[in-house]
Symmetry: C2
Subunit: 677 residues, 2 copies
């Protein structure tokens, strides 16, 4: 087992068995997390050196991180198990305001508890919805407001299926939201409170009355008149893919176009990349999505608590989709699997959680000598590692993308269904958009934090930012057109911001390694688009909990267990345990082992076009070499040629025999006419 | 002929003949521009209405816009020719500081004049470069500094080919820049001044001495050790493409996935889209790249004048590449041709100036019902119209991209070779980067202006901007988490800026057409990334000439002949004739026929990785519907299915018989091992 490989199924079973052995037989434990406790970096770095030098490898103990409850209680525990020595290295019961994540088993139990509750049903009865209607509940992580919320609860939002078609299990219930919201405790799964929701422009709670049934708004294809004029587009690699896949136990090494890296997968973060190198030069020790925060804009009870931390509150690994060939992925695909724990402590295999494929991303570089007419051109092949998570109503499609110019991109596509709530006819509010009759989609921010643990040509790195400024007029600049760049070294742990007006660019540098041509420190720059930081005020729980959401970049010295930007336990958290707290010590961060948390996001002001399922909103972050190589690293990509690319002319397509038509309803085949002058 | 169709070859010939007939026989005219003089919009709109209603079409006269010189003089003329009536509607000789664009014939003549000039050769001799060396000259548009620059000139930068390999016509001469720069007048093509270039850190001009020959830095594939492990990736459409191509004379109507638009092509802008509609609803009357400005940061003579306006100073159509199947374009491709004028007034056909193809851009939308496990997913098919221009050293790849969710993107990829200059060994400057021994690449900005002439559901449109702001604490917002959006109407012509901290978003609205569900005005929003505006100071010629470069968006009322953001004549211009001037009248722009100029760009601080050819830097602008439709317009895209997409497993690829290996030098075939847990 490689020290960075995720826990195997056997290791998960061994860890839960060891934890169970600490308790009297028959104690019912509810496991929340069993994942790799990564070894000390100081142990791993010599291991990686030996591995890449093909020398004999040091032995490193395997450890598991475990969180569990005594079932139906609030007794929440954290343990570290040494699997190699079969010992318990840490085992504590956690205190107030430290709660475990939600998971599928629990969400189903909460939904059932609320749907069976007599007082909930009594409230629903006041709505006089048609007999035979089917209710559906989205249990939301409770959130924090400091009002009687020390215990672990869910806040439930109730919807109904189209009453004319109640047997449709995949009916879009978000088109029919009801104004009743029970809160359910996880101690015994009991309804502890029923909130009636405000449905007007203010915070008035009106007595429940007959629910006005609006038309459905289904997203399933069988409810649409589908387009019939989309022709198939096939991507094939007749000689196979260009990447090499090497399995080592539960982790996988991918080699592609001078890149190499190890892929792990865990319950919290989903995919994790380790030991990312280009042409054997180390770039990143570890890369993963650290957390995300989605605060909502409606200030009214109980909506004021809506703030999801999808990784900390549930887990990106836990919610990862099983990907399907030809559906989620197009072209020649390699899938990777994962394994997490069930609530019983049993290993739960997760198939096809990551897909890997190559894609053509247009032209990579081109130059034509206008004197001779000779063009030199290469295409921009990319390697993509994609995973998708479903967070109840919403989907995120996440991808690491590598290219042949030494660039690494991270992309998030936001899609899925807006979390909706009821609104009275004719009412408009300035914190949301009516996306369907009776349906309000409230503004919300998506703020993501990517954890970047660099090791550019070694672990001693620094963060600098470069700005461009106009030169003052002088004898040197008599025409007022000159400008210069200057670099500022970030001396101490801090949260830092972009400034597009100064062209401020953050760079990770190794000041000890200089470019052989121009003598500049080798570096990678980070291009993350500016975004509006968290709008909730500094005294609010939203702000205090989303510890990364107030700055574009945080830099801190590396420390074990500082993986998750909003802290280890985000469910009903209070703040103070994440990256803002870590940075507050202002420790030195120059030429040492640093870690960055890079934020990006959008303020999602819903459009009606985002309903019933929203078209992807694409966010992209790029990391690019700056004076790291000695010339364009994609210069050695073979030229783009027809003998290799096998393109075809659309104008000749209509001469081809029509093949099996499989498109939409009509199956009509377009033809293109030639169009020469 | 459709009124918006570019001039045909016959029309170009007729226009030049008519102009020639104005002069005594034998007068040598140098034609600069012969392109469509677009009819009054008030005439075209009824025509388009009739066309879409399939009614009888009004007759609209065809006109040509002509610019020409009396050859070898500064006598520059502007004419409008009515081709239908064979009359001259306008014919004027232009005054001081109005100059025509450069073109290929002229650049070659300037290069030859400088290379033959005895005084230039005398200066070059001082460099003692090896016998048999070959000099290459990049004639630059002269620029403006107000110092004896009323006459039309070129500023020439001299380079040499690798002296060890001087017969290589495609040697990268930018790796060997010489410190001599002749200025050449276009009146008689004479050298009028020889500038010796500063090569140190300050503006000292040192006496010329023996040139220190550095190693070459070639970009051609035969000079590289090419990668041998890239496998082919083929994109095919066995049933043909999904778009329809209808030729009407010199313009082409494209229909694809509910989109329709007319494509034109001219010498100045390259591709122009007209009458862009979705599902027959009008969106844009006209879309084109209006101009770009590239000011450089080096304040020293003569570099202080480096500021290219590639469209105005030369012409995007003029410089457009002839695209090749399988090289510039991958997949099933439709090419369009264009025709411009030669300097003699003869039509010059330009083949394959635009390529059109479909591409898969990942997932379009997805939702999985976690209760049933059923996923609904469509892919994001895009239609791409691409063209590429070569501006001496540099390349721009421009594309309009349409998707199935009603979104229109405009993308620019910057690539090609940095414009370089000599620098002494060991010298560093803060306005440039040494990208090769002896070679300085100076910082520069690329600022683009996209002209957007909207007609959202009709010509009466307005520009608004939306911002998001925190709610103050109150009884309504007791927890401090609420926030709202508000819209501001732009009342008068103005330059306006983004503000990411306020999430400021610009939207084009038709306030007279309301969304049937939520009553909001139909709109399209514009997502252009923030960028650093022009750094040259407000009194500089750079600033005065780049009239669009100081604001993210300009809005003005529509007026004929306001197509080009920096004015009609940018070559050695003085400013005052572009969009900043047009907006200064502060005319009302609410619910009328408005035009936007949307700016985007980068401050290019060169990296060594950008040499000898830079990897594409991708800039993207998006226009997306906001409450324009009544739900996600891509909801009717057929679901993504393997029967349609024909994907394959990489893990099965090694079982396939190896086909013809055509990859790089080695031709090695990778295999992928299966990787199930």
């Amino acid at each position: 087992m490689h020290p960075l490989s995720p826990l195997s199924a056997d290791e998960i079973a061994a860890a839960s068995a060891l934890v169970r052995s600490l308790w009297p037989a028959g104690t019912d434990l509810q496991f929340k997390v069993i994942m790799l406790e990564e070894p000390e970096k100081s142990d791993v770095l010599p291991y990686l050196d030996a591995e890449h030098a093909q020398q004999s490898l040091p032995k490193i103990d395997r450890r598991a991180w475990v969180n569990y409850y005594i079932r139906n209680t609030s007794k929440f525990h954290e343990a570290i198990i040494n699997l190699s020595r079969q010992t318990i290295e840490r085992h504590v019961r956690l205190g107030l305001n430290q709660h475990g994540n939600g998971d599928a088993e629990e969400i189903v139990a909460v939904e059932q508890a609320a749907l069976k509750d007599e007082s909930v049903l009594a409230e629903v009865a006041k709505l006089k919805i048609p007999e035979g209607s089917v209710l559906v509940i989205d249990p939301w992580i409770y959130g924090s407001d400091g009002v009687n919320d020390d215990n672990r609860m869910y806040q439930c939002f109730i919807y109904m299926r189209d009453p004319m078609n109640p047997q449709e299990a995949d009916s879009n219930h978000y088109a029919l939201p009801l104004p009743i919201s029970p809160a359910v405790s996880t101690e015994g799964f009991k309804v502890v409170r029923i909130d009636i929701l405000p449905t007007g422009a203010d915070n008035t709670i009106k007595p429940l009355e007959e629910y006005s049934i609006k038309p459905p708004n289904e997203y399933l294809p069988e409810y649409q008149k589908l387009r019939s004029d989309l022709m198939p587009l096939h991507i094939s690699q007749p000689l196979g893919a260009s990447f090499w896949v090497t399995r080592q136990g539960t982790s996988t090494v991918i080699q592609w176009q001078k890149w190499s890296f190890r892929v792990g997968f865990n319950q919290r973060e989903g995919p994790v990349l380790y030991d990312v190198r280009y042409d054997e030069r180390p770039l990143f020790y570890r890369l993963s999505l650290s957390d995300m925060s989605i605060p909502y804009a409606d200030p009214r009870h109980p909506y004021h608590k809506k703030q999801a931390f999808d990784l900390g509150d549930a887990g990106a690994g836990l919610m990862t989709n099983n990907l399907k060939l030809g559906c989620d992925c197009l072209g020649m695909i390699q899938y990777l699997d994962g394994v997490i724990t069930s609530d019983k402590g049993d290993p739960t295999p997760m198939e096809n959680v990551i897909c890997i494929h190559e894609q053509d991303n247009g032209i990579g570089w081109k130059h034509t000598n206008f004197r001779t007419g000779r063009a030199a051109l290469v295409r921009n092949r990319e390697l993509v590692l994609q995973s998708i998570i479903t967070v109840a109503n919403y989907e995120y499609i996440m991808a690491f993308m590598f290219n042949q110019a030494g660039e690494l991109n991270y992309e998030v596509r936001a899609t899925g269904i807006l979390s909706t709530q009821p609104i009275d006819d004719g009412v408009d509010v300035d914190f949301g958009t009516r996306v369907h009759p009776g349906v309000l989609a409230v503004h919300h921010q998506h703020i993501f934090s990517l954890r970047v643990d660099p090791m550019l040509d070694g672990p001693a790195n620094r963060l600098v930012y470069e700005e461009a400024h106009a030169m003052p007029r002088s004898d040197f600049n008599p025409h007022g057109i000159g400008y210069t760049t200057k670099e500022t070294v970030v001396e101490r742990a801090a949260g830092l911001d972009l400034d597009p007006d100064a062209n401020r660019i953050f760079k990770i540098q190794n000041a000890g390694v200089r470019n052989p041509v121009n003598g500049k420190p080798v570096a990678y720059k980070i291009h993350a688009p500016p975004f509006q930081k968290i709008l909730a005020d500094k005294d609010s729980f939203h702000f205090r909990r989303a510890e990364f959401a107030d700055h574009n970049v945080y830099v801190v010295p590396y420390k074990p267990h500082q993986l998750f930007a909003a802290g280890q336990y985000t469910n009903q958290s209070r703040g103070g345990t994440g990256v803002r707290a870590w940075a507050s010590g202002q420790e030195p961060v120059v030429d040492t082992d640093i870690v960055l948390f890079v934020q990006f996001g959008i303020n999602h002001v819903p459009r009606i076009e985002d309903f019933p399922v929203m078209p992807v909103e694409i966010l992209k972050l790029a990391m690019k070499p700056v004076n790291f190589f000695d010339r364009n690293p994609a210069l050695d990509v073979p030229p783009s040629e027809q003998s290799f690319n096998k393109s075809s002319l659309a104008s000749e397509a209509h001469k081809q025999p029509s093949q099996e038509a499989e498109v939409g309803e009509g199956g009509a085949v377009c033809c293109s006419s030639t169009s020469k002058l």
